[in-house]
């Protein structure tokens, strides 16, 4: 018995790691990625397009599971068995790899000039001097709505806050549809599709975000509390039992046609196109007053870097320059509607919903999620706390002011802005 107990004890306290394996060949470039979903696109479209132009270089796309990617990649890099090309997570995860010397400096890579500073920010050192990944795609936040429902109820697409709530009230009064499909169970929906979605209109996008990093603004300032106050108003428009509604529940509620509005990220487009039986449209987060400048969250999500230990660095650089080219952007953005190219050259896309999303780039100012760059380090982690507090605010268990104060206190405990 004691042996068993001890065994149980020790099992519980011991931690096991895992290691992956990979292989490398001379003229072959291996791509490490967490996007297993994209395997077909790489194999059938992207790689043949590249290989046709660059004979002598073979490319293999070798993804691992998203949840294992970071750990597996770390183990492979340590063991020297990682692929030549590494798909980069945005911000600190990749910055860490660069600092450890796992990623090569790509600042001088031909093609880098095709990207704006905001696009490159996710893969630069804090001082912006070195860029270590080629930006591939971003995702844009907004609201996707059920066009049939809007037509049926005679609702115009809202552009201001007032119209937004009027529309929600009308849908609620009619009762056929749940006004908004969102749950707080998985927490991140509330933060990512809620706070980060509508927030940029209040903190004025990049202006507020950079001021926050510089320490000129605080999360307790009115422009940072206001989005929380808006979220608190959403509660009556969510479905019954939204506290236990998960992310897939929300997706299903909307695609089954039971909800009228879905606070979204553009990555949903491909899935919604295949599942929804009704017409869909999209609108950017409503502004406070008609005529206000609109801001959208155009969040850099995927990049690609070069393994510093790669034996085929030259071939890999050729490939990366191609990734930075408009050719790649066109194929990629069309194959994956909702993942928008960050290339300065406009990309022609076929999907109407994706076109709608990307058209906001022209009339609104783009920013990235406020909790990612620099502020996303440290404990307590601002991003994770934002998940928890956004959900609390919508659940009504915490006031917007208290939530903002908690976030700022947590941030103050480790972040000292450079003055």
């Amino acid at each position: 018995m004691t042996t068993k107990l001890l065994t149980a004890l020790l099992l519980g306290t011991s931690i096991l790691g895992s290691a992956g394996m990979a292989y490398a060949q001379d003229v072959t470039l291996n791509i490490e990625s967490w996007r297993g979903d994209d395997l077909a696109i790489w194999k059938d479209k992207l790689i043949p397009a590249f290989e046709a132009k660059n004979p002598g270089i073979k490319v293999v796309f070798a993804p691992s599971a998203p949840t294992e990617y970071d750990a597996a990649l770390g183990a492979k890099l340590a063991a020297g068995s990682a692929g030549d090309l590494i798909t980069c997570r945005p911000f600190d995860k990749s910055l860490e790899l660069f600092k450890k010397g796992n990623l090569a400096d790509l600042s001088a890579l031909p093609g880098m000039e095709n990207f704006s500073d905001v696009a490159k920010a996710a893969w630069q050192t804090d001082d912006g001097k070195a860029t270590f990944c080629v930006p591939m795609a971003s995702v844009i936040h907004g609201f996707i709505y059920n066009k049939d429902a809007f037509d049926q109820l005679g609702i115009k697409v809202p552009t201001t806050n007032e119209e937004f709530y009027a529309a929600l009230d009308k849908i609620k009064a009619d009762g056929t549809y749940i006004p908004m499909a969102m749950g707080t169970k998985d927490l991140w929906e509330a933060a990512t599709m809620g706070y980060q979605n509508i927030g940029p209109n209040y903190w004025k996008g990049e202006e507020g975000r950079t001021a926050l990093i510089k320490g000129e603004q605080k999360l307790t300032d009115p422009q940072w509390v206001a989005p929380f106050a808006e979220l608190a108003k959403w509660k009556p428009y969510l479905g019954d039992g939204f506290e236990a509604q998960t992310y897939p529940d929300s997706q299903n509620l909307f695609t089954l046609g039971r909800a009228a509005i879905y606070p979204a990220g553009s990555w949903e487009i491909a899935l919604f196109n295949t599942q929804a039986q009704f017409k869909m449209g999209a609108f950017p987060p409503p502004v406070q007053k008609a005529g206000d400048t609109c801001y959208i969250s155009d969040h850099t999500d995927i990049g690609m870097g070069l393994n510093a230990a790669s034996k085929n660095a030259d071939a890999a650089k050729t490939f990366l320059s191609w990734v930075a080219s408009p050719d790649f952007a066109t194929i990629y953005a069309n194959a994956l509607p909702g993942f928008f190219s960050l290339n300065n050259t406009p990309v022609k896309m076929e999907d109407p919903l994706a076109q709608e999303f990307v058209s906001w780039r022209d009339k609104c100012k783009s920013t990235i999620r406020s909790t990612y760059q620099i502020l996303g380090r440290g404990t307590p982690n601002l991003e994770n706390e934002t998940w928890v507090e956004s959900a609390n605010v919508i659940n009504g268990t915490v006031t917007p002011e208290a939530a903002a104060k908690k976030l700022q206190d947590g941030l103050d405990s480790w972040y000292k802005p450079a003055k």
Binding site: L10, S14, G183, T184, E243
Partner: protein, 307 residues
Amino acid sequence: MAAAPKRPFRWHIGVFLAPAVLVYTAIMILPLAGTLQLSLFRNIDQSQVFVGLANFRTLFGDPNWSVGFWNALRNNVWFFIIHMLVQNPIGVLLAALLSSPRLRFSAFYRTAIFVPTILSFVIVGFAWKLILSPLWGVAPNLMDLVGLKSLFTPWLGKEQYALTTLSLISVWQFVGIPMMLIYAALLSIPDEVIEAAECDGITGMSQFWKIKLPLILPSIGIISILTFVGNFNAFDLIYTAQGALAGPNYSTDILGTFLYRAFFGFQLQIGDPNMGAAIATMMFLIILGGVCVYLFLVQTRLRRYQF
């Protein structure tokens, strides 16, 4: 065995013990020692530096850590209390019913009640999440059928109910274990003891309370300690049902999920193996303490009824 004047060294004992000792050391003792060691170091400028008990001072002194730790510990204690108050009494009750000679289909019941125990946590977590889902779950409809719809709330999404709900799900899954152990203990009570009791006129309920229960107390003790160890190492159910952030608002955060977030990190939070190891060490000490209390204070007093 008579002591020979010159006893040869008995190599075979060592040889037979070696495989077990080696395997046990390699996969149990070394990792444990490694964890304890890791908790005394800290990563400074990409290298591990010995910092003594600084990680523990952070864990208990820095409110960013200590609030989370005490919250997790409190939740864990509540998780354990629910198991002790619900799982084990029900387990004893089921075992008592099953061991009744008049019960038909007892083998079927025994199996049916035990089956959830062998299910994966992932299945249990997802199945119950679906059952309790306010959108597609059967729970709201079933409650409607008996006119209790008004009592339904999205339990897993409410701070005040989520932890208790998860504890009860865990109870549902594991009630088979105390049942089996008690059942075995009840079967091992000699018939003579029962017959003697009957001769003295002790039957029915009083027979259970006065004769059987005292005889199965050692088993109940073992079950309590297994529950204790299991609960303080629990992680999977919370992780599959509520995610690593153990929402809403950390109300279902237990030591296992707290350790996971610290050690492996979560989303943007980068894992800190040293702080994780410090938490793992605290879990080890808590469990060790609990087991010692049991072994030295409780079990020594339970050795009364042996036959």
